[in-house]
Symmetry: C2
Subunit: 404 residues, 2 copies
């Protein structure tokens, strides 16, 4: 008999039929004697419907009011799921952010959880109830509703699991686990039965969409065992674990990719030591994600930078840089035909021949590397977007041929 | 400079355009220097949409979960209205049931307000903010969300107005005040500039739909000055007041009607003294409204009753009565072709000729009275439904010819 936290995303509760299917999953675990806390997202489409209403009122609505508005999405799905369980004769109760004791800071629309007062949650579990927790939401010290930003319900689930010392936090989604690479690109990709948290962190940040990076960070912070499963099929999913020896098992665990990448060239900057810091701060302030930074000192006193950003954010990034006083005099240019390709695995840094083989595989396919970047457990390159699928398949064949 | 509570119903906030129009109304009062607390219902249609979702899950859903679900409707409209005010540069903040300190009992879906801890509400007002309060909702002692049942947002508004000692509680709706009778039946009906709370109570209970009876009861309880206005046009509306001398001004204030009435005949009941109590309790338990009760003792030891109920509830009432052990042996029958017609006014009881004139007017039009009932300030009859419009117009002409 275990205490399990199960998180169900928007597509998993996207309709009444899906909510009934989630009730089936919960009841299956319950019948095995487990205590269950289910954390739910809003029904898919609902958050966008609410945001569209807000945009009709104000193109940049009050963040506090936006959180009060959008948090209703999880309230609706949580109460409907509780109703579905009660109808089948199981004692269930939905709890909202304040009833769950989730206290956050007051950074509306992107709040962070400070602590969880789990008194009521524990009491409901002791009374034998299945608790359906509204994800994504909390309250600040003044009692205002806050939301946790992207991936927020995953973060809620991990934080709740940690607060009540759950045995495992299960993230139910529309795929049945973490794959060696995107099976839509490489049909030979296989599901990993387990993956180390370090590898999972890199894969999430390098483009694997199955888990949000903030949820993995939260799990790593609490050392909470995480499992990714499908709410559409039965299976063991992929377990994210914290065993150090697990780090050595696989040299390369997976191939990650991001399709829409752009590169910004900032040439002839004055080399005063703070230019790069200025650039990064400027973009980070607006939430623009920088994936790679390349610095070249070609001329005396001058420096060139190449910075990769998601294509969607290129226009905003270019405006910010062109208007920046710190970059006056620099030549700023960009290209938007790139993709990022990465291999991730615990053995990459220690097993040096991997790096050579990585570039050899790409060269053999005539794929030019525009920018390269390496880390403890990953190797990333920017390549022309049209070669992305070819690159994924070639690397998968080279590094992940052996069956797991 | 006054402190005003303004309540806006579902049609008043039924679309983004309507919400903007409500913002106009609030800003007009604000510009006159008043402090405003606006209480809102859910956007029209939203509560029904949520109830339909619940019914898809369970034909009789858990009342606690139903309240958690349905209360999101007011949360959405409150935050959208706050956004609209903020966009125009006015400091506004939406507050929910718990933030408003509205404590209720735990009778989910029909809770009653026990008390209001208005600390935060007062603080926001002191800070110069326009408070947008989500109507219809509160929290029980355990922190569960409750809703107040029909007319709940009106009740919220009156209770909040009382808690903060507001000068006036303004109920904005889709008509511009209380009329002498329904203008769709009698185009010569006129708007009353004021009406006593006793008359308003009778008119609400006898079919005038402009104010819900529970809101008038709450206003009477707190002696809170109430005003009914239109959110679709500018005007002074109708003021509900507590001046005793006002009672004497109008002999007959208005003509009220209920179109769909049925009459249940229960004949040959055993006359054991508790039969009527049994009947009333049986129907009241299921929330069936009894408008008139007529008792006749025709035979020794036997008694006949005629009980009027809304047509919509006739079938349920008949089933309950036919299955009741207390009425075994009685003959139970019904007719469903009736309407109720009433005159309401402070002078009706004291000005005895009115009663004679009332029945004379109906007789002159060949309208048969099926059942009659009188009270301190009203006279009601059941007549055949097809004569309803004729009766309203004849009584209006007889009692309300003089211009106000």
């Amino acid at each position: 008999m275990a205490l399990l936290v199960q998180k169900f995303g928007g597509t998993s509760v996207g309709s009444i039929e899906r909510i009934e299917a989630v009730a089936d999953i919960i009841i299956r675990q319950r019948q095995q004697g487990h205590h269950i806390v289910a954390v739910v997202s809003a029904m898919s489409g609902e958050t966008n419907r609410l945001l569209a209403l807000a945009k009709q009122v104000d193109s940049s609505p009050s963040p506090r009011e936006l959180d009060a508005l959008v948090s209703t999405g999880e309230q609706v799905s949580a109460s409907l799921l509780a109703m579905a369980l009660i109808r089948r004769g199981y004692p269930a109760i939905s709890l909202l952010g304040d009833q769950l004791g989730i206290r956050t800071d007051n950074l509306f629309t992107k709040a962070r959880i400070n602590d969880i007062n789990s008194a009521r949650l524990r009491q409901e579990i002791e009374h034998g109830r299945i608790v359906i927790a509204a994800g994504f939401q909390g309250r600040d010290l003044e009692g205002n509703i806050t939301t946790l930003g992207r991936g927020g319900s995953d973060t809620s689930a991990v934080a709740i699991a940690a607060a009540i010392n759950a045995q495992e936090c299960q993230i139910y989604t529309d795929v049945d686990g973490v794959y060696t690479t995107d099976p839509r690109i490489e049909p030979g990709a296989w599901k990993l039965s387990s993956v180390s948290v370090q590898v999972m962190l890199e894969m999430a940040s390098l483009g694997a969409k199955v888990l949000h990076i903030r949820a993995v960070e939260a799990a790593a912070h609490y050392k909470m065992p995480l499992r990714v499963l499908s709410s559409f099929s039965v299976g063991e999913g992929t377990r994210v674990d914290y065993e150090d020896e697990g780090m050595q098992q696989q040299t390369v665990s997976g191939i990650a990719s991001k399709r829409e990448q752009a590169l910004i060239f900032i040439n002839d900057c004055s080399n005063d030591g703070s230019t790069l810091a200025n650039i990064v701060e400027l973009l980070a302030e607006k939430g623009i994600e920088i994936d790679m930074i390349n610095q070249v000192n070609q001329k005396v006193g001058k420096v060139d930078y190449a910075i990769s950003v998601p294509s969607l954010e290129l226009q905003q990034a270019m405006s910010l840089l062109q208007e920046s006083d710190a970059l006056s005099g620099a030549k700023i240019d960009s290209r938007d035909d790139l993709a990022m390709l990465s291999i991730v695995g615990a053995g990459i840094k220690t097993n040096t021949p991997i790096t050579g083989r990585f570039f050899r595989v790409l060269a053999d396919e005539n794929i030019d590397v525009v920018v390269a970047s390496s880390g403890e457990i990953k190797l990333s390159v920017l390549i022309e977007r049209k070669y992305l699928e070819l690159g994924v398949r070639a690397l998968h064949a080279a590094f992940l041929t052996a069956s797991e």
